[in-house]
């Protein structure tokens, strides 16, 4: 079991508020790792610090054996961590296909000269981008909507599209921020299948979720944040029994 991502004593504060305090956790390659906790516990803040949207104030992150320096989001993506957003951030006026094609940006090279001259190399690259994007759309289950403008897609399809776009960056770790938010039971079940499929294909998944049943049924391991601190990190069954966690959050549900 190799460790893919290790966070060591990560801290972040906003003015007087300590949003993250010495959070240390490690994610193994090929597992589905859940991050849960009450509202305001710091889960999305952790995501944002991890993916470079916020600058961390302390601690370090080691990914695939290499430390992730104070990186900007695009460097994090280049290193192999892709993410989705709590409030779905698609390119609303681009088609679904184009959205995913944008995801291929960092693994392709054509620049201005290539764009204007459009020689054989560029044309081949464009065709490859298009094909891969189409494949990914099929993979997440919205292959038929390739040419529909993103903001016209249903909510569930938009979430899938965001995942497809993140997958287009060829990540090693996929970080999903509340992917099941606003979904009903059927959609959640389909999402569960999709994520399990990702694990089967060798991807590591980190996910924030509030849907306890989904987390317990899906995740190999779970970490619990409360008030910016990690209060548990274990397999779901144990976390469910942990009195600290119950006290903070779970309250005996499920």
């Amino acid at each position: 079991m190799t460790v893919l991502l290790e966070a060591r004593r990560v801290s972040k504060h906003f003015g007087g508020v300590q949003a993250l305090k010495d959070v240390s956790l490690s994610i193994n390659a090929g597992e589905i790792y859940g991050l849960i906790g009450p509202n305001g516990a710091g889960k999305t803040t952790f995501f944002n610090v991890l993916t470079g949207l916020y600058r961390r104030d302390g601690g370090e992150v080691v990914f695939g054996g290499t430390p992730l320096r104070l990186s900007s989001p695009h460097q994090v993506a280049q290193a192999g961590i892709a993410r989705t957003f709590q409030n779905i951030r698609l390119f609303a006026n681009m088609t679904a296909l184009e959205n995913v094609m944008v995801g291929r940006h960092l693994r392709t090279r054509a620049g201005v000269i290539g764009a204007v001259v459009r020689g054989r190399g560029t044309r081949a690259e464009e065709a490859a981008i298009r094909t891969r994007a189409q494949q990914l759309l099929h993979y997440v289950g919205i292959g038929d909507s390739a040419n529909r403008v993103a903001r016209h897609l249903s909510y569930g399809d938009q979430r899938r599209l965001e995942i497809a776009r993140a997958l287009a960056t060829d990540p090693k770790l996929l970080a999903l921020d509340e992917p099941a938010a606003g979904m009903n039971a059927t959609e959640t079940a389909a999402l569960k299948t999709l994520i399990e499929g990702l694990r089967a294909d060798g991807l590591t998944v980190l996910l924030i979720e509030h849907d306890v049943r989904l987390v317990m049924g899906l995740c190999d391991r779970v970490a619990v944040l409360d008030y910016g601190e990690k209060i548990a990190e274990d397999i779901p069954a144990n976390v469910q029994q942990d009195p600290t966690v119950i006290g903070a959050y779970l309250g005996g549900a499920a």
């Binding site: 949207l53 916020y54 957003f85």
Partner: protein
Amino acid sequence: MDILLQQIVNGLTLGSIYALVALGYTMVYGILGLINFAHGEVVMVGALSSLTVIRPLAASGLPGPVVMLIGLAFAALVCMALGFSIERVAYRPLRNAPRLAPLITAIGVSIVLQQLAMLIWGRSYHSVPELLPNDPHDFFGASITEVQIVIIVVAAATMAGLMLLVNRTRLGRAMRATAENPAIAGLMGVDANRVISMTFVIGSALAALAGVLISANYGIAHYHMGFILGLKAFTAAVLGGIGNLAGAMVGGILLGIIEALGAGYIGDLTGGVLGSSYQDVFAFFVLIVVLIFRPSGLMGEKVAERA
């Protein structure tokens, strides 16, 4: 040393005017997130319309200050009506449009106002009759005229009045609430539209005052005077922290002093290479530097970006 004090006096005068205009920018930006490009032109309209009243009255024998007050009252009425209409006609319908639209509209309003002014008052530079005695008084080796004293004092008093309004009255509370969060303010019974209108009206009244004062200071008024003034006042607002009233005042005065000192010393600083005709460049330079290195301004708060 005399030059330094003199330039500071000049800068304080100019800066007081910048502060008055900057308040208008900062109030509108705080509530709507919009740069009211047309605000400088409202100042110009204030100056020119006050002149329309002042010129006939000045010959009538009424005491200077009285004529000025009448001119100011007239200008204030005109500008307040103007500000109100601009908001209603050009900005309100675009409240929910993408950012670019109100900006372009504001530019359009600015152009319309300039051209209307040119059509109404002509292209020439209008001289302002001397209504206040312009004798210089000695001030620790520098000279300060009564006009300058009036400008500084009146501007300061007005700004104090505005702070009182914003911090101690119901309307002021409503304005601050709407600036923070219009939706919640609405839930508390604040009529956002009315508050926004009042913001424009108050800002325009200040603009009228600034117009009267600046034309008294320089002795001329001109249809193109609003453009550069507006830009500099906006710079002052940004310098102090856009959205922050005290910041606008501090920014205005500071910018006035920087500009005066710069114009006075630039010859020495650059060994004669650059002359005082580069004065306007200072404001732009300050603007660029502030926006790059400290976009929240001197007194603004840093805004974290949320994912």
